[in-house]
Subunit: 209 residues, 2 copies
C-alpha cells in the first residue's frame, strides 16, 4: 500500500477498540516521528504528554466533553506549548545545537542573535499563535506516520485547555495544552470508518500559477 | 528505508538544484497528500497555490527576503487560508458531503448546525488563528509525504504575507497567504544537508503520565 493509499485508509477514529494497545515499538515509532517533526528554527516550542493513566484519562475525558476516545484509545498524546519563549529559551536551544554538532557556542552567536531577534519582534499574542502552529506541524507528521504504520488516530481540538492544564499540572511546567491526538486501533463497528472520505476536488483545492 | 529513516534524511533544504524538477507524478502525489490531509470538521479552510511561473516566483522571492528557494526549487506551494469562514462556507462544505456521500442534504441538518455553531462561537481573530492552524496540519502531512517519496522540501514562514497576497491576487479570492513549502531536490553542495539534525532528546520532549 502506498502512502497515498494509507492516507485514504485513515480517518478521524471515533470509536477505538479498548482491548487493542500499541506495542512498545509502535509507540516509540510514533514518538520518534514527532521528535523528528520540523519546527520554525528547530525550536520545538512544545512538549508532548503521553497519557496512559486511566484515572487521569477519565478526568481528561470529562474536560473534553465526554469524547470516548480519551478513555478507549490506546494512548492519548497531548501537544503542550511553552508559554514563555524568550532569550533564555533560545539560549537553551543554541546550547543543544552546540552539544549535538560539537561546535563551540561562540561560533553560534550570529545564529543565536537571528533567532532571538525573530522571537523578540513578535508581540506576545503573535508568539503564542506562532508557537501553537508549530505543534500543528508535528500533529500533521504524527497523523501521517500513524497512517503509514497502520495505526489509527483521531486529531482533537475539542477540549477545555484550561482544565487540561489543571489536570496535568501544565501551568507549573510553563506549558499549555494546544492540541491532541488519540491513537490506537479502530473498533470493528465504528460507523465512521465506513463513510466515504469528503475532500474538495483538486480543481477546487489547488490554483496553478 | 523506513519512514523514520526518511524523516531523518529530510531537512529544511536551503539550496535546491534548479535543474531538477519534480515529475508530474511526484507533484500529483504531493498534491494528493495535501488533499487527503485532515482538518477540523474536514472543512479544509484553505487553498494551495502551486507556483511554477518564473516571473511570479521572482516577485515572491523579493517578498520573501530574497530567499533563493523561491526561484531555485522545482515548485513553490503556498497555503492560503480563507478570510471568511461563515454559515455560507459551512453550507458549501455540507453540500460537498451530500454530493460525495450521496445523501439528502436534509439528513445533514444537525451536522450542519453543529459545525455552524462551532464556527459562530469563535471570535474573528480566533477564527483566523484556528483556520491557519489547519493549514499547518496539511503542511506537516506534505513534509512527511515529501520525505517518504525522497523529495526535498523547505517549510517557510519568512515572507511578507501582505505582499504575497498582492502578487497573487489573493484578497480578491477571499484568501490570505499563511505558510509555504518549496519542493524539489537538494543541490549537491547544500552545506545544510551535511549538518547533524538537532532535536531534543526524548526524555526532554516527552512526559509520560
Amino acid at each position: 500500500m502506498s502512502l497515498i493509499d494509507k492516507l485514504e485508509w485513515r480517518y478521524a477514529t471515533k470509536k477505538f477498540d479498548p482491548k487493542k494497545k500499541l506495542s512498545a515499538e509502535q509507540l516509540d515509532n510514533l514518538l520518534t516521528a514527532i521528535q523528528l517533526a520540523p519546527s520554525a528554527h528547530g525550536l520545538q516550542s512544545y512538549k508532548v504528554l503521553v497519557i496512559e493513566d486511566p484515572e487521569i484519562r477519565e478526568q481528561l475525558r470529562e474536560a473534553a466533553y465526554g469524547q470516548p476516545q480519551l478513555t478507549q484509545a490506546s494512548h492519548v498524546l497531548i501537544f503542550a506549548s511553552y508559554t514563555t519563549i524568550d532569550g533564555e529559551f533560545v539560549n537553551d536551544f543554541i546550547g543543544n545545537v552546540a552539544k549535538i554538532r560539537e561546535v563551540g557556542i561562540e561560533h553560534l552567536e550570529a545564529y543565536r542573535q537571528s533567532i532571538t531577534g525573530f522571537v523578540d519582534r513578535l508581540a506576545e499574542d503573535q508568539k503564542i499563535t506562532w508557537s501553537h502552529k508549530q505543534a500543528y506541524i508535528a500533529l500533521g507528521v504524527l497523523l501521517t506516520a500513524a497512517a503509514e504504520m497502520g495505526v489509527d488516530a483521531c486529531p482533537m481540538e475539542g477540549f477545555a485547555a484550561g482544565k487540561f492544564d489543571e489536570i496535568l499540572g501544565l501551568k507549573e511546567k510553563g506549558l499549555t495544552a494546544t492540541v491532541m491526538a488519540t491513537v490506537g486501533f479502530r473498533a470493528a463497528d465504528d460507523e465512521f470508518s465506513k463513510l466515504i472520505k469528503v475532500r474538495r476536488v483538486k480543481e477546487e483545492l489547488f490554483i496553478h500559477v
